[in-house]
């Protein structure tokens, strides 16, 4: 018990362990493997829809490209993946299965939104 009291008094002098997030972000970092906000390189994407097939939460839908976007493409890509983050489980399977590595789960944490429609990323 005496040892416990000494440890508590030491804690009193030390800085608290809790970080005052988000006001303080000093010393905080996410590992590079962290699975956060999706970034899709639509230029690179070939529209194969493997990610949509493999997604365990069924949050990726393949949306047809607009005529404007179609005009820009030289390959046969006709559709692009759209992610509904409101149902996403951030497992990173889409990143794994993409044959051209155009999907990247970044270190960014998606911000909370009132409207789930705002959580759709393409």
């Amino acid at each position: 018990m005496a040892l416990a009291i000494i440890e508590l008094l030491k804690n009193l002098l030390k800085k608290p362990v809790t970080v005052n997030y988000p006001f303080e972000t000093e010393g905080l970092s996410l590992p590079s493997r962290y699975r956060g906000l999706h970034v899709v390189d639509q230029e690179k994407c070939i529209g194969c829809s493997r990610c949509a097939r493999e997604c365990p939460a069924f949050v990726i839908t393949m949306v047809p490209l607009t005529p404007k976007e179609l005009a820009k493409r030289t390959d046969k890509k006709k559709r692009k993946p759209v992610f509904d983050l409101s149902a996403c489980i951030f497992c990173g399977v889409c990143e794994d299965v993409c044959p051209v590595d155009c999907i990247d789960l970044t270190n960014k944490i998606p911000l909370p939104e009132e409207d789930t429609a705002k959580l759709v990323v393409d």
């Binding site: 018990m1 416990a4 508590l8 008094l9 804690n11 009193l12 030390k14 608290p16």
Partner: protein, 335 residues
Amino acid sequence: MSFAPDFLLFVLEGLLFPGVVTLIFFAFLFEWAYRKFLARFQARRGPMLAGPSGILQPFADFIKTASKEEIVPDAAHKAIFKTLPLLAPLPVLLGLFLIPVSSLAGLVNSPGDLYLLIFLLSLFAAIQITLGWASGNRFALIGASRSGLQLVSFGIPLVFAAIIPAMRAESFSLEKIVLSQTGYTGYVPNWNIFHVSGIIAFLIFLICSLAELEKVPFDTPEAETEIAGGWTLEYSGRAYAFIILSEQLKEVFMIGLAVTLFLGGPFGPTFGLPSVYHAILFTLYFLVKSLVVVFLLSLFSATMARLKVSQILEGTWSLLAPIAVLTVGLLIIIG
């Protein structure tokens, strides 16, 4: 001096300084300090957003709780359930008026202060039991019965611990007890805590205060993980805010009593200042001494787990009460 200004002064003292407003301010301050100390022991931050370092947090809590919806359960005794919580802070305030804060005597004083205080302590417990019973909840009822058990078991050591300063001052008046501690022996003040029997009595008093304030390890009447808040369980909104307020005032009461009985009350060096400033100085001394007691209380409750009711009964009757009685004997022998 005519009657009117005196009376006016008395009302002002009673309401503002060192009366109700100041005491409620103290209550919030001590609660904040307690929470902050506890948090820092646990490597947390504690309250931090309301005011500088979260000092306004208890006040914010009070306002927020008071503005919430009040729910009266079907099984409750409606009249008691609605009115008694609002009256709960009153007896505590009455007790607080007896405690010297800004001068050597309390706002109200009599030769038998200590008797009244001890009576008031059991009144608080009676109110708790009634509140728990009136809410018609089984957890609350268990909490109420535990509250009663604690009153019975901690009453004896508490009274014996409180009697030691009275014996040294040869008076039951708090003013006399404070006066008896004003001198110095060398550089050491004549506080009761610097006496062999006084330090033991002080420790017993601290332990009993923890029980009286329902803090860990003696928070069985409202043990959150066992009986989900005990006697306070069904109260919400304004009623709960007032219950919290009365609990916090009780904290001031017990701490103030500890300061008065063992730490020389509000008395301290006056540096030859005119007596007008004494009130401010004394209040400051009282605050500092009280915060030391708050620190001790939080340290004590941070190092312990909640005990069981049976263990508390065993501990008080077989350990605390005999020690308290022996300490009184010790004081009689060595004087």
